[in-house]
């Protein structure tokens, strides 16, 4: 293993992020090749976390662009501070300055509201730009992003063209609510984050839930592994595992049993049909399928 990759793994672990070779390799190549990294995976597997840890690792600022339906270029780039501009005009009313001068004044940087993308290209050092849940924006916005990524420059008619001196490191995440375009995909490095393996999940629980009982952590991870194999409509992610582990730890549990599971199942299953399905599974296969028998 390359020592840079090993170092990334160590730094990530030091930043409380339980990682593995695929994540570390992708982050390594993203920083070397300076390409955006597209991270896909189910909800709650820790995609966003990668960007946060990467920023901490590089000692860079994290700039986050949260996508949502209807997000457009203005909201992502910049807007003029209209209130401030109006106020300025009022204040200048009697000053007798020529119109051109007034106009130049109010269309200058102090009146500019920088939104995430503009912020990202006007930093002193390369920041980490997190484009979170890109699948929630629409195709037009995706095309617009591609354009920004290829040039890293933005033209503001009233001010001029701003080019990034230090282009950001870009991480995009997607829950696959919408398929992204091939153009965007091919422009990015790709990382698929699956549900964690048993060992990884144990490590995550132990790392993130202080004071968790070691046996409990293993039993929770085993339980989640079996649960994800059941056909559920909303498969619990790592976030659910951690919620549950915290709840059980708060209850001073040191192992799982049928009663405890029944009482706290709401931490893990958030869909009435899934709860039914789980009960049916327990009824037919026994709780032993989820909780290993003593010894």
């Amino acid at each position: 293993m390359r020592k840079e990759i090993q170092r990334i793994q160590e730094l990530m672990e030091a930043a409380d992020y339980v990682t593995d070779a695929p994540v570390a390799t992708s982050v390594h190549l993203a920083t070397i090749l300076r390409k955006p990294l597209l991270i896909e995976g189910h909800a709650g597997v820790g995609k966003t976390e990668v960007a946060k840890v990467m920023a901490r690792m590089l000692g860079a600022t994290l700039i986050r662009l949260q996508c949502y339906e209807g997000l457009d270029a203005a909201m992502a780039l910049y807007e003029w501070n209209y209130q401030k501009q109006l106020l300025h005009i009022k204040l200048e009313e009697g000053s007798g300055r020529p119109t051109e001068q007034k106009e130049a004044a109010i269309f200058s940087e102090p009146f500019l509201l920088k939104r995430p993308l503009l912020q990202a290209i006007t930093q002193e050092t390369s920041p980490v730009l997190l484009v979170d849940e890109i699948d929630r924006s629409d195709e037009e916005f995706e095309a617009f992003l591609l354009e920004i990524f290829s040039e890293w420059q933005i033209t503001i008619p009233e001010i001029g063209t701003i080019k990034a001196a230090h282009p950001p490191h870009v991480i995009l995440t997607s829950n696959r609510n919408r398929e992204l375009s091939d153009a965007l995909r091919r422009r990015c490095l790709y990382l698929w984050v699956d549900y964690p393996s048993f060992e990884k999940e144990v490590r995550i629980v132990e790392r993130k839930v202080p004071g968790v009982n070691a046996r409990l952590a293993r039993e929770i991870a085993r339980f989640m592994e079996s649960l994800r194999a059941v056909r559920l409509s909303k498969v619990p992610g790592v976030a659910e595992t951690l919620d549950w582990a915290r709840a059980l730890t708060a209850l001073h549990a040191d192992h799982l049993d049928a009663e405890l599971v029944a009482e706290t199942l709401g931490c893990v299953l958030k869909d009435a049909d899934d709860v039914k399905r789980f009960r049916a599974e327990v009824a037919s296969a026994g709780i032993g399928k989820f909780i290993p028998v003593e010894g």
Partner: protein, 384 residues
């Protein structure tokens, strides 16, 4: 090892991936070669992960990539000089993974009229085309005739008419979306510009929130006689696709297949061949099981802006209760559930099959899709 060998190997590897359907770009090949310079070439797993990050761009491509990788990058034995092992080419045609159909170039051109040209034309002609386009209604006889009754030659003509009709509908939809003068939010940016010289705000400029586009999920029965109707529905909806945020397409007979990717950017005829390819003749139609598969794997595609269209005659050889449960699940999550049954175009038909009867309570719209007229009516139901 010389860099050139490594680059050559990457190029050949990319070629192998392309032959198996991964659309690897030139930039990616260059990046892959660069990436190798920053990876530990003696660590096979690291090379695998690194190349995967660069050359794969969706999770579905990973299994193919893995097979190709294993076939191409021979595992280096411990006593082998590692690098020689790495760059070893596959013994020419070597152990290639199972072949995936690659379309032949010949014969594509002429057949490619439909899908290819719609895509290219969509923006181009929408403004310029005079309003008096030869209207579909000039050919009334054709618009009310059941698709299944046309001869092979007529079908081409009908396909063209379908596209024409869809285009007109698409244009109408885009006119409707023009921003209104009176209502909507004040557009500060434009208002401010317009009133700049006055010092007072007199003339308010407004804007409408960008209208969110409706998304479609199509579940097309391609068993037996349904195949033909599925084709027309697809042709119609794909011609309309600019109106929609997204169109996701699945086909089913006994099992579900996602064909969205196959439909994208392909010549129309080729697409239809693919549809026929996915059909399995083995045993009847299992609608319920197919919908269950859809809910499990693709349920995340549904939301309050998504219309689900099922095209089927409702002959379900599977469990009818499953069908009802799965329809209810879709109904709960999607904006609208539409069932198209071409047999409904036949005046003597009544939806009495067990499957159809079980489905009826869950439907927002139940109609035929057996001729052009009914497709036109369908367009009305596709607005939220």
């Amino acid at each position: 090892m010389a860099d050139r060998d490594l680059q050559g190997a990457v190029v050949r590897f990319a070629g192998l991936l392309r032959r198996h359907g991964l659309p690897v770009t030139l930039v990616e090949v260059t990046d892959a070669a660069r990436a190798l310079g920053h990876l530990d070439l003696s660590d096979r797993n690291e090379v695998f992960l690194g190349l995967r990050a660069v050359l794969v761009s969706r999770v579905e491509e990973i299994p193919t990539f893995e097979r190709c990788f294993n076939a191409f990058w021979r595992a280096a034995r411990a006593d082998d000089p590692v690098l020689r092992g790495l760059v070893a080419p596959p013994d020419d045609r070597g152990p290639e993974p199972a072949p995936v159909e690659t379309p032949t170039v010949a014969g594509q051109r002429r057949e490619g009229v439909a899908l290819e040209t719609w895509m290219a034309d969509e923006e181009g002609d929408s403004a310029g085309e005079p309003l008096g386009v030869p209207s579909v209604s000039d050919r009334d006889a054709l618009t009310t005739q059941d698709f299944s009754t046309f001869t092979a030659e007529q079908l081409d003509e009908i396909a063209r008419l379908t596209v024409q009709l869809a285009r007109r509908l698409a244009r109408r939809a885009s006119r409707r979306r023009r921003p209104a003068k009176r209502r909507g939010l004040v557009d500060l940016r434009r208002t401010f510009r317009a009133n700049l010289t006055r010092g007072e705000i007199i003339d308010l400029r407004r804007r409408r929130r960008k209208q969110k586009k409706v998304r479609l999920v199509l579940l097309c029965d391609v068993s037996g006689s349904m195949d033909l109707y599925s084709r027309f529905l697809l042709q119609f909806l794909y011609a309309l696709q600019n109106v929609f945020g997204r169109v996701e397409t699945f086909t089913f007979a006994t099992r579900l297949t996602r064909v969205t990717e196959h439909l994208r950017g392909r010549p129309y005829r080729q697409v239809l061949r693919r549809l026929t390819d996915v059909r399995d003749w083995s045993g009847g139609t299992r609608i319920g099981a197919s919908l269950a598969e859809f809910n499990r794997q693709w349920g995340h595609l549904l939301d309050r802006r998504t219309i689900v269209i099922v095209l089927s005659d409702g002959w379900d050889t599977g469990d009818v209760d499953v069908l009802a449960t799965e329809l209810l699940r879709i109904r709960r999550r999607a904006a609208r559930l539409i069932w198209l049954n071409p047999l409904l175009g036949n005046p003597s038909y009544e939806p009495l099959t067990r499957g159809m009867a079980a489905a009826l309570p869950f439907l927002d719209w139940f109609a035929a899709a057996h001729n052009l007229e009914s497709l036109r009516a369908l367009a009305g139901a596709l607005r939220l």
